[in-house]
């Protein structure tokens, strides 16, 4: 049993701490947050410093998890802490259902009541939030966030840093590009290019031009 450092003491940080407590695999846990020292406590847990102070806590907390909602920031932070020598576990809530035939990357978190089904691959630093489901043979790149209760049917691919909003539904086999935002409760029936925001049922693009309109077919193999 070793100590775990959670970077980010906002709402998601608390959810991760709660998960860690429920899993019972860690001797102690502490937070880093840039609001330090103003709140030096989150619930029963201590905030011990700012995010830039991470290296001072490596000895007492050899493992870390980044609990920052912003996908790009989370990925950058994880890279930096990995370089400093932190180990990134994969955290799975005891009440999540994860098939033994799927791969989930370092620093990814699977929250309570979520399901990850056979053949799914999830990159590093991703969040599969409360009650979300990732269907069979899905391919999720690094830094993806599947918000609470979102549903990915079988064979869906999601590019790096994309955010699938709460309660959204993605039809089977659809490819979602990189840095896409899928609005809350949207239903996505067709492939989505990189960098756009898509909302509604069925989804329509409301924001951002496709960065590379032809990228989708190659993205499927690159994930």
């Amino acid at each position: 049993m070793v100590g775990l450092l959670i970077v980010g003491a906002g709402g998601h940080g608390k959810v991760v701490a709660d998960l860690v407590q429920a899993s019972g695999h860690w001797s102690h846990l502490s937070f880093l947050d840039d609001t330090y020292p103003k709140p030096d406590q989150v619930g029963p847990w201590q905030v011990v410093g700012r995010t830039g102070d991470s290296c001072f806590f490596l000895e007492r907390h050899p493992a870390a998890i980044i609990a920052i909602g912003n996908n790009q920031l989370r990925m950058e932070m994880q890279k930096r802490l990995e370089e400093e020598g932190f180990r990134f576990p994969t955290l799975v809530h005891p009440h999540a259902s994860v098939s033994s035939f799927c791969d989930i990357g370092a620093g990814s978190v699977v929250c309570t009541q979520a399901a990850v089904v056979i053949g799914a691959q999830i990159g590093v630093g991703s969040i599969i939030n409360t009650g979300a489901s990732v269907g069979h043979d899905c391919r999720l790149a690094d830094g993806v966030h599947v918000a609470p209760g979102a549903r990915l049917a079988g064979g869906v691919s999601v590019g790096e840093g994309s955010w699938i909003g709460i309660g959204a539904t993605i039809r089977e086999g659809v490819a979602i590009g990189r840095r896409v935002v899928v609005g809350a409760g949207s239903t996505i029936l067709q492939d989505v290019p990189d960098g756009v925001t898509i909302v509604g049922s069925p989804g329509r693009i409301i924001h951002g031009e496709a960065l590379e309109r032809t990228l989708i077919p190659s993205m499927r193999t690159n994930l």
Partner: protein, 221 residues
Amino acid sequence: MSALLIVGAGGHGKIVADLARELGRWNRIAFLDDKFPGSDFVNEWEILGRIADAPRFLAEFPEAIVAIGANAVRLEVLRKMLEMGYRSPALIHPAAVVSRSATLGVGTVVCVQAAVDIDSEVGMGVIVNAGSTIAHDCRIGDGVHVSPGGRVSGGVTLGSCTWVGSGAVIKEKVTIGNKVVVGAGSVVIRDLQHHVTVVGVPGRIIRHSPEGGPLHSSEYD
């Protein structure tokens, strides 16, 4: 072991009885329902009388759950039962997950596969129905019903007796008033005042009702 009285023998009442049986804390489970005496049994459980007969059963059944779907009626009956001296525990299905840092009011029911995350405060007489999720830091008022698969994001406030339809989604930090009705599968992305009915993706208001939407006492089973 004790005995549990369930008020309301409709669909939701059966679900509560099933949940109570799973929990295994009661050696006797029975119903009150206004369809008595025409109907005496629901599955294996006996209907003992009408809702107005509740005071007669207090000695035999120290604990009660009100399983009436209509939110305002459920809350009113729950308050009366508590005044009579009934205790009304919060029930959590063994396959639901409620964070140890969340709070549930009396008579609240958390159904199978539902989740309530850290630091959420759920009021009394609330239904967190099957497979629904309430994320962190939510304030859920008394008599709310989050229907099966409803998704309530982090930091949301739901007013008293508000009803979130099946599969509906509430965006993070949204504040919703009292007695609001959110239609099935709708997506709410903005704050809502009291007593409105909202449907669609994104949700639009289709009705303002000073009486709080279409749920009347005659519809509770």
